[in-house]
């Protein structure tokens, strides 16, 4: 594969712009989902929230070939899907709820592969898992409750895969025995390249 930094930079800038634009639109939709968009005042609130994201202090970082804007888009979309699923849960539409739980997990996992603090989206799943367990204990075991807890667990695990995946690839590259010496972080209890790199280089 030839080296083409100019092509890479141009493609990266395009992708970042598209990512930021989509991120703005999805933030509008997300705000509307949470706070409603019926009254004029509500719509103005949603519009303001999206406008503020346009002039975000991240500035040129949302235009440059970096992962920030794509991450922003994926993260907001993950939240949107999850909250949409919560809405389905409260209106009794279990199938939609479960589908959105999984879809949201996949989108958060993609966000985590782009930027590792996407893992924080997993907190939604963790919180709901606790609530679902509470339901199970105090309101009795039922198929729907067990299924709900199951899908939360699967969704949350998918998000975790987004964190583990790239690190597994790095592990295969550095730690699997080859002719070059094995770095010391491979011998840690959790051989995480992220942890090592952050503490050693930054």
């Amino acid at each position: 594969m030839s080296s083409e930094p100019r092509q890479v930079a141009i493609v990266g800038i395009w992708v970042s712009h598209i990512g930021h634009y989509l991120s703005v639109l999805i933030l509008y939709a997300l705000t509307a989902l949470i706070f409603g968009a019926e009254s004029s005042l509500q719509r103005a609130f949603c519009l303001l929230s999206a406008l503020l994201h346009i002039i975000s202090p991240a500035g040129a970082f949302l235009s440059a070939p970096v992962g920030e804007s794509i991450f922003s888009f994926l993260n907001f979309t993950g939240y949107y899907l999850y909250l949409s699923g919560l809405h389905d849960h409260s209106t009794g539409r279990a199938l939609w709820r479960d589908c959105k739980l999984i879809l949201s997990g996949i989108v958060f996992a993609l966000a985590t592969v782009v930027r590792s603090n996407g893992i924080l989206g997993g907190m939604l799943f963790a919180f709901d898992a606790v609530l679902a367990l509470q339901d199970l204990f105090f309101q009795g075991v039922s198929l729907n409750r067990v299924r709900h807890l199951g899908f939360i667990g699967v969704g949350g695990s998918i998000v975790a895969l987004g964190m583990i995946g790239p690190q597994y690839i790095a592990y295969q590259e550095f730690c699997v025995p080859s002719s070059s010496p094995i770095p010391q972080w491979c011998r840690n209890t959790i051989p995480s390249i992220y942890g090592w790199v952050q503490s050693h280089y930054w």
Binding site: E4, H17, S63, G67, F71
Partner: protein, 132 residues
């Protein structure tokens, strides 16, 4: 009142309002980046020099004058090098695998597209659709 109509128009067509605001802000940012003077605090972009095929760009002064390269600084430098040649050094792994993989994939697609649709473009020296 005129301000009332403007207000209601803005809120009734959010996608349009947001699109216009987005384009306006991006143009402003572009203007700021392009007109920023000097080589900048971070000159790591110049490390890309050996891999540039265009002889016109192969001096430090030239590379820092072209607006495109002003975006390839700080973290962007890491993302561009990993998307270009894959991960090599340990510290590069701090920069999201997903974004580099996506850009690398798209770069291959654009190169293939160039070959397919405009095979004589590069040899004739005419600009292709991805040229700035």
């Amino acid at each position: 009142m005129a301000s009332q109509t403007v207000y209601s128009r803005l809120t009734l067509h959010p996608s349009l309002t947001l699109t216009i605001a987005f384009i306006a802000w991006k143009l402003l940012l572009l203007l700021v980046v392009v007109s920023s003077p000097g080589p900048g605090y971070d000159t790591s972009t110049t490390l890309l020099l050996p891999s540039l095929s265009d002889p016109h760009e192969q001096s430090i002064r030239e590379i820092l004058r072209v607006p495109l390269w002003r975006f390839v600084r700080w973290d962007a430098f890491y993302f561009v090098t990993t998307a270009d040649r894959g991960y090599l050094y340990e510290q590069e792994w701090a920069f999201g695998y997903g974004y580099s993989a996506l850009i690398s994939c798209l770069k291959s697609c654009t190169l293939i597209c160039d070959e397919f649709f405009l095979p004589s473009t590069r040899t004739l020296g005419k600009p292709s659709w991805t040229d700035f």
